[in-house]
């Protein structure tokens, strides 16, 4: 894992510096910023040094746990991340839970009753969810569920004015996260539902099911013990990948719902060339992705005994 991360850090750093502009090119307000200030800051931040020196500086700091300072927010990157990570994690976990519950419910129903009206309705709904890009879905759901129906708040992670730790505070947080979590998970819900449905249908045609039926096993037992268990296998591995992408996957959702999290921070750091933040988040996301891979492999082994034996 480490060698890949190291190599990745070199490449990403090079890429980041290769992007046109730097953290100061955004300062184009002539009434407030003086070119002299820009030149001074560039020197101070070391942007004029050769790239490999800048990289080594970053690397030595990073290894020791010093992620550097954000130029935009003028605070240590680690503090900045600490502020935002709980939001993204909360959103990601809620979204995962909702996605899997819904995907299972709809997928199993569809798989059991293929080609019925219910199945077709679910399929249509899913294909629309797949086709509509997430930002359109987000805006549509805000205007419908939030403005028109008033069921959910449209922005933020929590109501302001509530004290941290109280029950009201947690209820508010949960309330705020629901709509973004639903929208975030919509795409995955749709694909997993269809996937599960197809898998269930495939498995129900397999020979061992015919055997079980011939033996006289009840339909219920066939479904629960034979078909479902096999169909779940690939889905479970998706779980690994989903965990891996928890941090970086919500960029668009966070932006539209003004839900301050890592995704939004990442996008901003990219647009404003806030290198320290960008590198720190990229490394974190890559680490999580690798971790997710590992989890997926492990889970695969847990769920499919054939793999375990190897």
């Amino acid at each position: 894992m480490i060698p890949i991360l190291f190599l990745l850090s070199v490449v990403v750093f090079a890429l980041a510096k290769a992007m046109p502009g730097d953290a100061l090119s955004g300062e184009i307000d002539p009434t407030k910023t003086d070119p002299q200030y820009i030149a001074e800051m560039r020197e101070r931040l070391g942007y004029n040094d050769p790239i490999y020196i800048q990289y080594i500086r970053w690397l030595t700091g990073f290894i020791q746990g010093d992620f550097g300072k954000s130029f935009k927010y003028k605070m240590p990157v680690s503090d900045l991340i600490k502020e935002r990570i709980p939001n993204t994690l909360f959103l990601g976990v809620c979204s995962l839970v909702i996605t899997y519950i819904l995907a299972f419910a709809m997928g199993i129903y569809s798989g059991k009753h293929p080609y019925t009206i219910g199945d077709n309705a679910i399929a249509t709904f899913n294909y629309i969810a797949l086709a509509i890009p997430i930002y359109v879905a987000a805006i549509v759901s805000i205007y419908f569920f939030s403005f028109k129906l008033g069921w959910f708040p449209s922005t933020g992670s929590v109501d302001i004015g509530l004290e941290k730790g109280t029950l009201d505070y947690w209820i508010s947080r949960f309330h705020h996260v629901l709509l973004p979590a639903l929208v975030l998970g919509a795409f995955n819900t749709a694909s997993y539902t269809q996937f599960l449905r197809n898998d269930i249908m495939d498995n129900s045609r397999k020979d061992f099911v015919r055997t079980a039926r011939a033996k006289g096993t009840s339909e219920k037992a066939i479904y629960n013990r034979h078909i479902l268990r096999n169909s779940i296998i690939p889905i479970v591995t998706f779980l690994g990948f989903d965990i891996g992408s928890i941090l970086g996957g919500a960029i668009i959702t966070e932006t539209i719902f003004t839900y301050p999290g890592i995704g939004q921070l990442f996008l901003n750091s990219l647009n404003f060339r806030d290198y320290a933040v960008f590198m720190a988040i990229t490394m974190m996301i890559s680490f999580m992705a690798l971790l997710g891979n590992l989890i997926a492999d492990l889970l695969y082994g847990v769920v499919d005994p054939r793999i375990r034996l190897e």
Partner: protein, 301 residues
Amino acid sequence: MSTATETTRSLAARQKSPSTWAIAARKFRKNRLAMAGLSFILLIVILSFLAPVIATQDITRVHFDQVEKKPSVEHWLGTDNNGRDVLTRLIHGGRISLTIGFSCVALVILIGTLIGAVSGYYGGKIDGLLMRFTDFVLLFPFLPFIIVINAIFIGKISGVWSLIIVISLLGWPGTARLVRGKVLAEKENEYILAAVSIGTKPYKIILKHLLPNVLSVVIVQASLLLAAFIVAETALTFLGFGVPQNIPSWGNMLSEARNSNVLRNKPWMWVPPATVITLTLLSINFMGEGLKDAFNPKSSR
């Protein structure tokens, strides 16, 4: 008596046993949904390529006096915020979106299959190295890469090709893994061992024996990828890294919906691309399903 044996023998001679492809094709043709999907895709592709001929209204010229008009006889789907005909842009946009989709799929399948096959067949160190490389590419950050590629190629190649290059360079690991898995499994079969034992060169084994058997999986994967890439284009447009705005594409037409006024009051600007994308995805999926069923010897619907 001789005529009877003649007839049976000639009958037997004429009736060759059908190949896998023929069986698959026949099954596919019988699958109504899959055929519907295929027809829709063909229709869209043909329309898109005929775009310059059939959709002749100007897609670049801005018409101040015809901005945001509702659908009418002159403009079947109305006009957008620059006074351009929506239907024309939709058809031209299909060209771009489909070009991106098909090109990326072709490139990804090519790279992925090659790497996956080589990796799976040779195993050992080569496999290890290639898989490491695959993991690395999986982790590669997409956004900064596309910014840099755009910056490097600015003015030299069109933004559409930048996008295709980046998606293809970063999108093949999934396919590689898939192909590798399949090759690993197929490799153990006796006919492969037989070919090796008579001294067939590796590239011939890969090309003539392994790949055709792996192809069915690859084809299904290709259809999934096509859907995924068309969707990816729409998502990227939001972040500003999609097709540059002066070239119409379904993605950037749909991104107009970001403006709440367009979303709520001017549906003709964004619902057409949304509908077309949905139908395209549905068609691709039905086709993919159909293909999967067609190649599966056990399915018989």
